[in-house]
């Protein structure tokens, strides 16, 4: 046990002394969130909006003025009926439409419920989410100002996505990012740190010493488990504070599943390290063998349904695919273990398989 603790301490020191790598590992997740988050926002200015206003009155004109005054929107069309909307969306001349009911002014005065319809072009899910956010904000501000205090009226904007009816949220990228970051930190860094010792010859010293191969591996991965966990927290905090990404399900479950996936990724890293001779090959193997599937075959960038059948089948072998389903379920749908047990079980199975294969590979003395 003392030997083992000494070993964990050594690995931690390696990690802490390699300042550059450590800085990259800590900044990487946050930078990724910011890049993804802001890349999404680039085109969200000057949104062409159509307003359907069957009975113009003081209240609706005030609303139109507010929309026109915002630098986010320009009013592309105002018409009394919604007949033209489909055509306008298809042509791309408008990207959003606000359909007002009749007699807005009177309804506000009478405290009737007010039903607005906000139609958004969902062909680009990320921008769609942001456009909706902006429009909703203006509507709510307008409504608060228009209705004197004390009345408890609520707008119920009916949101209908055109062209992408299955869109869940603009924040689909955060769960994918969690998987991506964990894969890099856990798998890549484990593979590199084990192959580094192979290269320097210290691994041979360890293997001929009384310390067990399993203890060597455990000692190696513990600091990376901690680091991976910190990364998850950083990504979640950044996503929440900067972009307001929701967490609808249980935080504890999310962290527990993340821990499971960290171990999966570590096991992948161990597998790689047993197959390759040096750090460079380990890096290439991890990048080509893990990062690309994690990006492309997990549903992170391309929805699984839109992949060719062969790739859909292949995606079943990518652990990130199952983890992604779990994280999306927890964060966006508020799902619990009751609905996610199958994915969790698959991930547990994969992890056990990889761990057994990996530690066997490493237990074979270097030949």
């Amino acid at each position: 046990m003392r030997a083992f603790l000494g070993f964990v301490r050594k690995e931690t020191l390696h990690l802490l002394r390699d300042r550059q790598t450590l800085a990259i590992l800590i900044l990487f997740p946050v930078v990724q969130v910011l890049i993804f988050g802001f890349a999404v926002r680039t085109d969200v200015r000057d949104i062409a909006i159509a307003i359907v206003d069957p009975t113009p009155d003081v209240a609706t004109i005030e609303l139109r003025d507010r929309i026109a005054a915002s630098d986010r929107f320009h009013i592309a069309a105002v018409s009394p009926s919604a007949d033209e909307l489909d055509l306008q969306f298809r042509e791309g001349s408008v990207r959003q439409a606000l359909v007002l009911p009749r007699d807005v002014e009177r309804k506000i005065g009478r405290a009737d419920s007010l039903q607005l319809q906000l139609i958004t072009d969902g062909s680009d899910p990320n921008t769609a989410g942001i456009m909706m956010g902006y429009a909703t904000a203006i509507l709510q501000r307008w409504y608060r100002d228009a209705v004197p205090a004390g009345r408890s009226l609520q707008i119920e904007p009916q949101v209908r996505m055109r062209y992408n009816p299955t869109l869940e949220s603009a924040h689909l990228f955060v769960p994918g990012l969690v998987a991506f970051v964990l894969t890099i930190i856990s798998a890549l860094m484990t593979a590199i740190s084990i192959t580094r010792e192979k290269e320097t010859g210290t691994m041979e010293m360890l293997l001929v010493s009384p310390i067990r191969p399993t203890a060597i591996v455990a000692g190696k991965v513990i600091p990376y488990i901690v680091l991976g966990f910190v990364s998850v927290l950083l990504v979640l905090v950044a996503a929440r504070t900067v972009f307001g990404v929701p967490l609808r399900g249980s935080l504890v479950l999310l962290l527990a599943e993340s821990l499971l996936y960290i171990v999966t990724a570590l096991a992948l890293g161990i597998m790689i390290s047993t197959k390759v001779p040096n750090q460079r090959t380990a890096m290439i193997a991890a990048l080509a063998g893990l990062m690309m599937p994690t990006l492309l075959l997990s549903g992170f960038i391309f929805p699984i349904d839109s992949l060719p059948v062969v790739l859909q089948w292949l995606s079943n072998l990518v652990p990130a695919r199952w983890f992604l389903t779990i994280v999306r379920g927890i964060m966006l749908k508020g799902a619990g273990l009751v609905t996610l047990w199958q994915e969790t079980l698959i991930l547990v199975g994969m992890t056990l398989f990889l761990l057994i294969k990996g530690s066997r590979g490493l237990a074979i003395r270097l030949g």
Binding site: R2, A3, L5, G6, F7, R9, K10, L13, H14, R17, D18, T200, G201, T202, E204, M205, L206, L207, V208, S209, P210, I211, R365, L366, G367
Partner: protein, 247 residues
């Protein structure tokens, strides 16, 4: 149970059809400094790696520190020290941290680690560099430090694979003083080397050619047996038979 520190019998290792070590039989007494000589690729490193349990023998048997290599590998591991050809300390840890790490791995108590760390630093003259990173100290000191670390847990046998490669003559001398000290303290030393002057320091030597032991004995016995004046000549005669050195 064997009284010898190392007792190898017909030890053989093949890689595919290539026989790297061919049925070597030899023994090393307690406290003996035993030299393993041979050209590059003669099988010295393969032989050592079998004896430290890093490589499984294809056939043959051996006991190390009195324990069977195959059946009592754990006992063997606890009683040997090893310093590899590659420099084997952690460059990004300090001198003290390296010593503490290996001490912990070999189950040396904290108290002993503390006293032995002090001893080591004084003996090799690194008192002021204990908290320096290993990568910042000169190569000669690194090698001496690696040797002392290999001896930290007072092993019965220590294996040194070309310990003095790339080191200047003065440091080599000091290194051999350390080896003698270890031998005098009862630790058997098996050392491989290219330097034939170093072979003269060994009590006995064996010269490996193509995986087999071609000559073995004290340096003077070997010279006599081969019929050569110097070890240089012995080496040339054995490793390149038919060359100009043949008498």
């Amino acid at each position: 149970m064997s009284d010898y520190a190392i007792d190898a019998h017909e030890l053989t290792r093949r890689f595919g059809s290539f026989t790297a070590v061919d049925a070597i039989t030899f023994n090393v007494e307690q406290g003996e400094v035993f030299g393993f000589l041979g050209a590059n690729g003669a099988g010295k490193t393969t032989a050592i790696r079998m004896l430290i349990g890093a490589l499984e023998p294809t056939s043959g048997s051996a006991t190390v520190a009195g324990y069977d290599l195959k059946t009592q590998a754990d006992q063997v591991r606890r009683r040997i020290g090893y310093m590899s050809q590659k420099f084997s300390l952690y460059e990004d840890l300090t001198v003290r941290e390296n010593i503490t790490l290996y001490g912990g791995i070999y189950g040396v108590s904290d108290k002993d680690i503390a006293t032995r760390t002090g001893d080591i630093l004084t003996r090799i003259g690194l008192e002021h560099a204990g908290d320096d990173l290993v990568r910042d100290i000169p190569l000669g000191w690194k090698q001496q430090l690696a040797f002392c670390v290999a001896l930290l847990h007072r092993p019965a046998v220590v294996f040194l694979d070309e310990p003095t490669g790339g080191v200047d003559p003065i440091t080599r001398r000091r290194f051999w003083e350390l080896i003698y000290e270890a031998g005098a303290a009862g630790t058997s030393v098996l050392v491989t080397t290219h330097y034939l002057d170093e072979a003269e320091y060994c009590r006995r030597i064996s010269i490996m050619v193509n995986g087999a032991i071609a000559a073995m004995g004290t340096p003077s016995e070997v010279r006599k047996a081969v019929g050569a004046e110097t070890l240089d000549e012995v080496f040339l005669k054995l490793t390149r038979p038919g060359s100009g050195a043949a008498a």
